[in-house]
Symmetry: C2
Subunit: 534 residues, 2 copies
């Protein structure tokens, strides 16, 4: 089997025993952690000669979860996403060869092509992802018609059941209370199916994307919105990126599962004789790995190239090219800045590193075209003698993007609504110019970075232009102090911290599960509530 090597450190990255390793040992003992996510750490393809080749998985969730295996022995269950994956699912040797170490074991939940297409391309991505990012033009989309409902019942539901079966199969015989982490919006229903087979399971689900207010969920069919909320309540812990999303989830439980007992203060729900904790775990980056790439030869080369073609000062953004990133308004704000500050024309470049994303979806392609048009319009207006103010880099070149962030004077991260946004955190740890972070208040990252970033309201072009001007005019001492605060925050609350807190919480749950206090709390709250009129 040929393919790119899957790089994973041969040794745990922390020594002596890190708090994360300690938490893992406390939670797992001799067990493996079972982790389920739509994508695996590698995916398969068939080479010209028919042999299975592997390719490293991409995307923020995979990158984050790949960290888990560095600290904890993991069995990672992913979906079969193509025919090569389906072949590999039946080929234990191919799976074993796909990863260089047994610390991460790959298992593929066998999902047929039509089930996967319906679950992925009708429900998860065009419906749930768009909906949870509030990216809908409500009067016309979504139209939940018979095809949508078929995709739910014959796609999303069976995909979740296939995951549940694959997860349960990985629990060693005789193992009690298996520890299982489920990830993201593809797997909202998996916990309930696992719970039916393994009532003793320790189950946690983490949603990487935003959770909108219950009034928005109200426009979706009951079978979907209640199915999702009830499905999540089968977990012991339901994790979100921010306190706002956790609150919105609790309100959704209150609205769609009237029999559940919601406590907003302790963020717990009692339902069906079980206690579910709603927790906030803001995801983060691997600071060491990020800096390693930023210091690589490739990044150094990119940095020299970027400096050669840019003006003296640089405004930088890095985003997947999609509508929730609010790229159009970013350009409009830059234009407004140049309008008012003629002294910046010629001395400020806007470098936009835009990674093409989901180009099979029309909305994404249309948005990409508008982004190009807007940049061209601004360049036609303010370009001078072969030098244009806006440079767009349409490619997936991580070293180049980090190079850009490292030399930026201002970093613009202005998404409309974003689960977390890791670019803001990457910028904080690689920037070398006391760069100022201009950050949307509706990015999940804002909750942790408010004390260092300049806030902007996403729809506010005037305010964004003002924030950019303020960033450029800021004295170096303040810029330095702000960046230091951001950097220290990300170093403290990095990806290990994110994982460690989850493992500690689960360990605490295992230890308290059978406690008298918890039993009595469940009993107390399971009593009929007083009438709402009281």
């Amino acid at each position: 089997m040929a393919g790119e090597p899957f790089e994973i450190d041969a040794e745990p990255s922390s020594s002596p025993v890190s708090p994360l390793t300690a938490a893992a040992v406390r939670l797992l003992g001799e067990r493996r952690l079972i982790l389920a996510a739509n994508r695996g750490p590698v995916s398969f393809s068939a080479g010209a000669d028919g042999t299975l080749r592997t390719r490293r998985g991409s995307g923020g969730v995979v990158t984050a979860l790949s960290q888990v295996g560095e600290h904890v022995p993991v069995t990672w269950v992913a979906a079969t996403m193509n025919d090569a994956d389906r072949r590999a699912a039946r080929d234990p040797e191919a799976l074993a060869r796909a990863l260089p170490t047994d610390r991460v074991r790959l298992r593929l939940a066998p999902v047929g092509r039509t089930v996967f297409e319906a679950a992925h391309n009708v429900i998860a991505n065009p419906l749930l992802w768009f909906f949870q990012h509030e990216m809908w033009n409500l009067p016309e989309r979504p139209m939940i018609d018979a095809a949508t409902m078929r995709a739910w019942h014959s796609g999303y539901v069976p995909l979740n059941e296939a995951f549940a079966e694959a997860v349960v199969r990985e629990v060693p015989r005789g193992d009690r209370e298996p520890r299982i982490l489920l990830h993201d919006y593809h797997l909202y229903l998996a916990a309930a199916a696992i719970r039916r087979a393994r009532p003793d399971a320790i189950l946690s689900h983490f949603t990487h994307i935003p959770w909108p207010s219950s009034s928005l969920w109200l426009v979706l069919p009951p079978v979907i919105r209640e199915g999702i909320v009830r499905g999540l309540l089968a977990n012991d812990v339901v994790g979100f990126q921010t306190a706002r999303y956790a609150h919105n989830f609790l309100r959704s439980v209150e609205t769609f599962v009237p029999a559940a007992h919601v406590d907003f203060l302790s963020r717990t729900v009692v339902h069906d004789g079980r206690l579910t904790r709603i927790r906030v775990y803001p995801i983060s980056i691997d600071v060491v790995a990020t800096r390693r790439v930023a210091a690589s030869a490739a990044a150094r080369r990119r940095r020299v190239e970027l400096q050669a073609t840019s003006a003296e000062r640089m405004l930088v953004r890095v985003d997947r090219l999609e509508p929730s990133k609010n790229i159009l308004r970013g350009f409009r704000a830059f234009e407004a800045l140049l309008e008012r500050h003629s002294e910046l024309r010629g001395s400020l470049s806007f470098l936009a590193f835009l990674v093409p994303s989901r180009t099979s979806i029309r909305e994404y392609r249309d948005y990409g075209r508008k982004v190009r048009d807007e940049a061209e319009r601004i360049n036609a207006r303010f370009g001078r003698a072969g030098r244009v103010p806006v440079q767009i880099f349409f490619k997936h070149d991580y070293a180049q993007a980090l190079a850009g962030l490292s030399i930026a004077n201002v970093i613009l991260v202005n998404p409309l609504i974003d689960g977390m946004n890791l670019v803001a955190k990457e910028a904080a740890v690689v920037n070398e110019r006391d760069g100022v972070l201009v950050l949307s208040e509706t990015a999940g990252a804002y909750d942790q970075m408010a004390d260092g970033a300049l806030p902007v309201a996403a729809a506010d072009i005037v305010g964004t232009a003002n924030a950019l001007a303020a960033a450029l005019a800021m004295p170096v001492a303040e810029r330095h102090a702000r960046l230091e605060r951001l950097r220290a925050g990300v170093e403290r609350e990095d990806i290990s911290w994110w994982l460690q807190r989850q493992l500690e919480d689960l360990a605490g749950i295992v230890e308290s599960r059978e406690s008298a206090e918890e039993r009595s709390e469940i009993r107390r709250r399971a009593r009929p509530r007083r009438s709402a009129g009281g």
Copy 2:
């Protein structure tokens, strides 16, 4: 001066002393109530000979507020919306002649054309109305640019100040604690300006449209979102249509005015040494007046006409023709119904009474075109021999719409997000066929009508088709019982009840204002809060 007569009952409609009149006397004593709303009970136009003519104001808010004058002596302050209004504003005799009785006195806040255009056609309607109905395609709209901010500062703000001045001018010399009701999204800032001039005023504001979650408000510029929230906190009472909107407002206060002390349980806010109560007043209809129109000769004529051209059974909707009403999905649901239930083809007509609205706005025109196209497509598919399943009536004919509601077997009210929706209430009191109300859970009216209506999720075409089928298949006894519950609810909680509760609350506030308890509650909550980390 010529013009249509403005009809108002010569006598109060309730006798002997109704609870509403009692509340009015308790609140007002010898005073007049001062009421401010963008539109007045009449507007002016210049006749061919230059004389001022009057036209009765239209729209739900005006209709509702016109009720106030039947029970309470009112001075109604409205904006000058055109040049004839501006002439009338300077012509006390024209104002006096415009209304047949002194119980409603009309005053016009003089607002210049450019101020009005900016306030109305840049901020209030395209921005606030769309935003509060969550009608945005967020990646592209709104773009808050310099023109928007100019319209805010030089339009919306001065319009509110003009209203405040006009209101203050109406307070009789020597009168203490004037009682002032402000209405809707045009006047969010008026209370603060009135409060500066008259710290003793008893101020109430009622928002007729939805109040979205604070996470949506977060995308708007701080000067707008905070300005609005702080502006509203200058009132003694801030009223909303539903508990959800009240909750969302309290969350907005918590998010945008950190110095305010919010109590979610009692729905109060202490800020700036003042206590503001957030209350829920679901608006309603004048049951007697509605039935009078439904029984009129015009309505009877319309009924005969409608029956002549329709199939045996009728599905009816009545709406302003605009995107939040979700007319397209209603047609798609009807189509899905005919697809599955071939026995209904030919025996079920869908009558859609659609009142053209804001046809100067492109989104409205585009939506109207799509509505026509969709109806034509369905008629081409299921029409037979000169009879089409969908009939659209594009006009403003209230008697005809009530005639349709009175003979409907099923009434479809499926808005995406709607402050209240009075059609649902009108249907309940005029329907004579044990008609079934199919009602969106995201209509404000749903909170009061859940025990009689069949609920639908607005985006759910399949669920809506199923609800229509269930309504058509429902036994008469259940239909009758459901309609009776709805009817009794609307009769009990009618427009008088809506107004009465507000007046009673204000009377209670006047009486408790200087009480020791309230002073001490304000002092207690004005103390610094404990740290959030505690």
